[in-house]
Symmetry: C2
Subunit: 426 residues, 2 copies
């Protein structure tokens, strides 16, 4: 079952909230000169005044950026006590060899020194071009101003400093109560806009919370949330060299520390998942060159994993994406993409519908074309948010598990994607 | 080892040769009205005057077009004696349910009746839009003229009749000698031009030969050739609903039937492979919206399978493709695509070179940026045929297997691809 378990609890969105919405977090973003643009911010710092419990999820790519390796080391060395993050855009510090590793370590050490914390309490994230040495001198020159600039309202500029081809600021914060009634907050910012294919641009997600949690509870909640949000954006999961999702919990809310398997855990985990899902949808909507957000849901599968895999295969298909871009109700491509997902199903019991705020139309019934109006289908697909709804019927599942459903988010594939990526580096 | 075993033998290309180059084959193509265009041919027939030994390879997609299912049945029912193929473009006859199956059977039966052969001796292939019922009445109305039009110089028009978004006619024929000296010929035509992603357009390959072979030898040679040619074009192998490669051997050359494991088999198999590799490269070059042919070679892997998978992952990467389109020497994307291939290797011993007729440049040495001139790299990548050469170094392989190499072919990703596929159907 993939349905979100929403406990009886309300998550209130904090207007314009981000990583500084939880108590005790400060941030700063400025221009260090890593990016070529003379105006754009490219160096960010996030810091918790109090020690933190932390957890992180990293890319599964065999080729890992230097900052990913170093942050993993720091997470382990500090015993999950990371309380600061220094991040840059304009350079991925990936495929940079021993020199890149030294640069990432130095970047963390420089920030830690200014903050008066141990180097291993500081994480590093980088995004940008691969294979070019990080201009460490510029990071070093900017560090004093960066640390001095930390403010409780610095979330926006920190977010700007990690953006690359992103066209929108993607952040959110929630407030909710943990038993017996403590108000706590979770805030997050995310960078990433290359959603057209699993091999896309870096995702950096930074999540802060003033809730207190045990290390295992925080780790478990992060993994669950990432699996049900960011990992549903792509076919193969985390596949850039630089992807990272980091959560820092500083306990400033004063709640009784949340342990796994408790009612408080369920509430926290659901809130974190809700936040990440929202950010994942924002990322899909902001896909490079994207004009539409596509949500794919598959129901009636043998298992949630099957349903997720089928949904991802559809959302990842270049042919489905281009058809959505062209508002062409080419449902055969949906079925074709399911067919090469590697998951088994009976094509003859598949129903497919397209839905948007302009209406809903069934385009495929029992694996063959349904009777529908091309004009209405076109009208539905011209909207900016499209849903592709697939029911596997009773072909694959049994009564007991036929409710198994999955979701994936993607975007259309436009000419602008090609333009953006055709000369990204030079 | 993936290197082609080329026996001491010369394969001579027959100028403008195709499926009618081998003795005893006739073909015809005409306009039946399946395509909307008032001018384009859309129905083809290929026929051997003599009984044939035949073999075929089909798509691995779970969703199989009606013609694929029916041809599979006919291959089995006839005991591998298919000697004719009726094929159409303009309609894939996929996702068309029981009606589609009946239509495919009827199409074969109509052709067989005109040819005076058993229905199961006739294969069916279709390509075009998915999910729309095949206009069987138009096929029926055209069948008499189609059979009457069979000619020894009909290869060109038969090929035209199976083309969709193809911009070039892709065909070739070879002549060579089998021991003790019999001249034999192999001819082929292929349709397919959506090479931008594994989930692309239909491939139809029709191969004819006047050589005599045992059924197991023919089957084995076909599978080997397809694995080393068409399957190297894409990440997941055959993944459209309609892909088929069919070979018919009529023995008209009068050679002693070729058995597996014989010297004659090695020669025939090498010739077939050479023919298919040439056609695969023609297909990549004719990719939808493609401006460049990209050949990726990976050497020094643990196994040929690893090398092939790494090469395919690179050739299939949207980011690598767009970089090639933009002539941007973004080698980091090459390494990144290797990293999510699912195969293990040591990034720190990887060398990458770009080569074309404009020269050669090393862009990555031991996993990090090599010293190179951006201007020369750009000049090399502006060519129409680009090679990406990857050496895994001694990180993964041992001395014994470090020669394990693999190849993949692809094309760049251009704006025109999006335009072609954005409104393919309507």
């Amino acid at each position: 079952m993939n349905a979100v378990t929403e406990p009886d609890c309300v998550f209130n969105t904090i207007p314009d909230g981000g990583i500084c919405a939880p108590k005790g977090f400060k941030a700063c973003g400025l221009r260090a000169g890593i990016k070529e643009s003379a105006k754009k911010r490219d160096l960010a710092l996030v810091y918790s005044e109090r020690p933190c419990t932390s957890a992180a999820v990293f890319t599964r790519n065999v080729v890992k950026a230097a900052n990913i390796i170093v942050t993993g080391e720091h997470l382990e060395k500090s015993g999950g006590r990371i309380r600061a993050l220094v991040a840059n855009s304009g350079n991925a510090n990936a495929c940079t060899g021993a020199r890149g590793l030294a640069a990432a370590r130095r970047m963390a050490a420089l920030a830690a020194m200014r903050l008066g914390i141990a180097p291993e309490e500081c994480a590093v994230a980088s995004t940008g071009v691969i294979g070019v040495p990080l201009p460490l001198d510029r990071v070093e020159a900017a560090m004093e101003a960066l640390a001095a600039g930390l403010r409780e309202d610095g979330a926006d500029e920190a977010l700007e400093a990690i953006m690359t081809t992103d066209t929108r600021k993607k952040q959110r914060a929630l407030e909710f109560a943990l038993p017996p009634g403590n108000p706590v907050r979770i805030g997050a910012m995310v960078k990433g806009s290359g959603m057209i294919h699993p091999n896309m641009a870096t995702m950096i997600a930074v999540i802060t919370t003033d809730a207190a949690l045990s290390a295992p509870a925080l780790d478990k909640a992060l993994r669950r949330a990432v699996n049900r949000s960011f990992n549903r954006l792509t076919v193969d999961g985390d596949t850039s060299t630089n992807d990272i999702a980091l959560v820092m919990a500083n306990g400033a809310a004063g709640n009784f520390p949340v342990e796994s398997e408790s009612p408080a855990y369920e509430i926290f985990a659901a809130a974190l998942e809700s936040l990440c899902v929202d950010l994942a949808r924002q990322m899909a909507r902001d896909g490079e060159g994207a004009t539409k957000l596509i949500t794919v849901t598959v129901s009636g599968a043998d298992s949630g994993e099957d349903a997720d895999a089928l949904a991802k295969s559809i959302a990842g298909s270049s042919l489905v994406k281009t058809a959505c871009f062209g508002a062409d109700a080419n449902w055969g491509r949906v079925l074709c993409a399911m067919g090469y997902s590697g998951r088994d199903f009976n094509p003859e019991t598949v129903n497919i519908r397209f839905r948007s705020k302009a209406g809903e139309v069934e385009v495929c019934r029992n694996g063959a074309q349904a009777v529908f109006s091309e004009a209405s289908a076109k009208k539905i697909l011209l909207e900016e948010e499209i849903e592709i709804i697939v029911e596997l019927g009773n072909g694959a599942g049994t009564a007991a598990n036929s409710a198994a459903a999955g979701t994936a988010w993607g975007c259309d594939l436009s000419c602008d994607y090609v333009k953006i990526n055709g000369d990204y580096r030079t």
